[in-house]
Symmetry: C2
Subunit: 150 residues, 2 copies
DNA sequence: GTATGTGCAAAGGTTTTGCCCCAAC
DNA sequence: GTTGGGGCAAAACCTTTGCACATAC
């Protein structure tokens, strides 16, 4: 099955994707994927673990990591290195980029067609076939820059 | 002393920068800074440690980390999260961005005035004051994509 | 001489792995 | 019934910290 990158497969499709690879659909995997999709945010493995245990109390952190690995392979989830030392995970939902506030940690997502276009041009210039891109802008959001100036 | 961001201070200036803050100029710090500048690459703390020990054999890894912390504060070095789980460090040498080959790990740097301009516009739209930006394009370089197709 | 800096060792935090039992197919 | 997946505990990995000694100033 081919799911166009950037288009989020529906639950039934996810099951099919897994089965195609000989993977199983388990309550743990369902819970973890649903949490990432519903929360929408940029969750750490830890936070996912915490949330998922409400549903699958005996869940272990290693299962979270293993599941995230799998979901990355399936392009259902992507792994981010924003500020701080931990990985964060989010549902794959089309190319988008991040503005990160260094004070409060808030992350604003944006899409930018010009960026994508420019990246393609840059990659061509350097003979690279792009498979992914990341734009992160760091700074201080409106609220935080006001506070800091008080 | 003010060193314009993006302009690399010369050795004498570095000493002055340190002294201004009440920091000392030690052989360890000199070695680490020189390695980062000369290697030009994107070194991990580990690699810096390894190289610097040729010169300062009793150097410890914690000194490397502490020195990197200091050099970051002075804006002489910047910390990157490219592919993989470790931090990498490079000499601060003006805004530039990275193309990363996922097969061989090669990193190509590029500068892009358009990107900077666009980032400013995006940040303005979202009320963010930018202090830094990161553009990373992932893919396969010419050589590697040839090899993979064999 | 006096802080600041260093080495060493230990702690810390996050992610990965091994092993054996369990459950999805 | 098979085989992939999960839980647990331990290991691995990278980075940070505490402390006593060394050294740049």
């Amino acid at each position: 099955m081919i799911v166009t990158r950037g288009e989020r497969p529906r639950p039934g499709q996810v099951a099919a994707l897994l089965q195609e690879r000989g993977n199983r659909v388990t309550p743990q995997r369902r819970a973890i994927l649903r949490i990432i999709e519903e929360q929408g945010g940029h969750l750490s493995a830890d936070e996912i673990y915490y949330l998922a245990r409400k549903e699958v109390p005996r869940l272990s952190l290693s299962t979270v990591y293993r599941t995230l690995e799998l979901l990355k392979d399936l392009d259902l989830v992507s792994e981010l290195h924003l500020a701080g030392s931990r990985y964060r995970y989010e549902a794959q939902s089309g190319e988008h980029q991040h503005l990160v506030c260094l004070a409060c940690g808030r992350v604003i997502e944006f899409q930018c067609a010009h960026c994508a276009e420019m990246h393609q041009r840059l990659a061509d210039q350097h003979g690279l076939k792009i498979t992914g891109s990341r734009v992160e802008l760091f700074g201080y959001c409106e609220e935080c820059s006001t506070t800091r100036n008080d």
